[in-house]
Symmetry: C2
Subunit: 293 residues, 2 copies
């Protein structure tokens, strides 16, 4: 299989769903315009793609869950909008475009984030065959836990509290586990949950998701030092500038690279009992390790 | 029945659930502390009480749904925290206490709001007998629609856009329908949905909720002019100061009072087929009309 074609095909499904979802004008238009502005800023869609790949690895057809996968992208996008706010990371650029609050102002940016988060649960609350109500409910449980006070939001708060603090392995792991790995991992797990409650496959896929999630952040930290500003879509070196607690700061650049490679290897192990239907998951792991943005 | 005792009993159930929910320390503690600070600032708990009263009117036991009702209070509280932010209404006082961002700063206040919204869906995603997964999913659909871009958040955006604009009946109704009535009405409807899909009772109770919701905002606008700052817990006259589009501004004070009275009367009509199990809903309507904060 060609992973680049696979990723593009899946990204097209997501983009097309999101365009359709926001095609109809809803009053007040500035709100939906602002929500769609950030949604269509050209992300990699890695979370919904992982969700669909996990669904396929369990035996499902990705087309059946595009809406649910897109809901996860909405949650990711809301978190970026709020993270970029002046009182948080105060970023002007995201994916090479002005951040939401730079275009629409702080109030609309906050409310667009709120609305994206809420809309995600709205989409996840409508059962569409073959997905049943009880599976959807378990996905809502998984996603909300991963993104709330015990997950992403908790990690973001700890991240802010830890700026300028000394290197601390345990806190670093806590932040990245919560802030990034939790939702990435939940995206993978949700793909399996949407298919059904086969616990063996579920735990294998979840284990893969967790390792991928941790690797993703280590690689992000490395790219902030070694990447190119134009490719990253945001100024490189911003972690250092903000004295963020990062992997290179705790383990050095070489140590972090070794760690990312190990995590990707560990991610593949639990997939050993799967046949070719898990190839996309396997290929995505390698793709993430070699990404440049 | 004594409505004051009823309200206090129900409020105690909610408060006790919320205290229990936040009893265990979750890292980072400042986040959960900030969430609980606003949750325990002494609101009337009118939305969860309405939810429980509607559940009872359909034949259920309020004790069975305290968690779900409390989730609605979390959503209401998140909206207050975000509304109060400097870039929105810029309020320093709420229910007589400093607003969340005054105590914890803007970043934590935004994240505490985000986490409360997310946590609400987390609570609503766990089925507890006698509530079944499909009923919970319909409640998540109802609540998320009422609080997102087609509901509360949309209304808040329109409210901001309409400051300093001329009196406009249609826009006023749009704002209040979305900003306040939608979630109040959804609280009532959710109570009925949690019990089951009897469509006659459901539509009667929903109609009651809609009228109550609209009346609530008219009364709020009147209290902003006639209430006492100490009783309101916030400075009176703040709508006028911000040139908000309010009912008294469009219909005058006497006209608004007549309108509130009419809406409360209209709220009672759909309950005519219910017997005494709907008395709490009836009494709450009168209580809302005569409230002083």
């Amino acid at each position: 299989m060609d992973i680049k074609t696979y990723l593009k095909d899946k990204r097209d499904l997501i983009d097309s769903f999101l365009r359709g979802y926001f095609a109809e004008a809803v009053r007040p238009e500035v709100l939906t315009e602002s929500m769609f502005y950030s949604l269509s800023a050209g992300g990699k869609r890695i979370r919904p793609v992982l969700c669909m790949a996990a669904y396929e690895a369990c035996g499902g057809r990705a087309e059946d869950i595009v809406g649910y996968a897109s809901a996860i992208e909405m949650i990711h996008t809301y978190s970026l909008i709020h993270d970029d706010l002046p009182c948080m990371d105060d970023d002007d650029l995201r994916r090479g475009k002005p951040t939401n609050h730079k275009v629409y102002g702080e109030a609309i940016a906050i409310l667009a984030g709120d609305a994206l988060l809420t809309e995600a649960f709205s989409i996840l609350s409508v059962p569409r065959p073959p997905v049943t109500p009880d599976r959807l409910l378990s996905v809502i449980a998984e996603i909300s836990t991963a993104s709330g006070m015990r997950g992403m939001v908790g990690g973001q708060v700890q991240d802010m509290l830890s700026e300028n603090s000394g290197p601390d392995e345990e806190t670093l792991r806590f932040i990245h586990m919560k802030k990034t790995a939790a939702l990435l991992s939940a995206s993978v797990t949700s793909g399996a949950l949407l298919f059904g409650p086969d616990s063996d496959r579920l735990s294998a896929v979840s284990e893969y998701g967790l390792k991928i999630g941790l690797a993703f952040q280590v690689i992000d930290d490395i790219l902030d030092i070694e990447g190119e500003t134009e490719v990253l879509g945001k100024p490189k070196g911003s972690d250092e500038k903000k004295r963020k607690l990062t992997y290179p700061r705790v383990y050095g650049l070489a140590g972090s690279k070794a760690m990312a490679g190990d995590l990707i290897k560990e991610a593949l192990a639990p997939l050993s009992d799967f046949s070719s239907e898990a190839d996309p998951l396997r290929e995505i792991a390698g793709f993430l390790l070699n990404r440049t943005n």
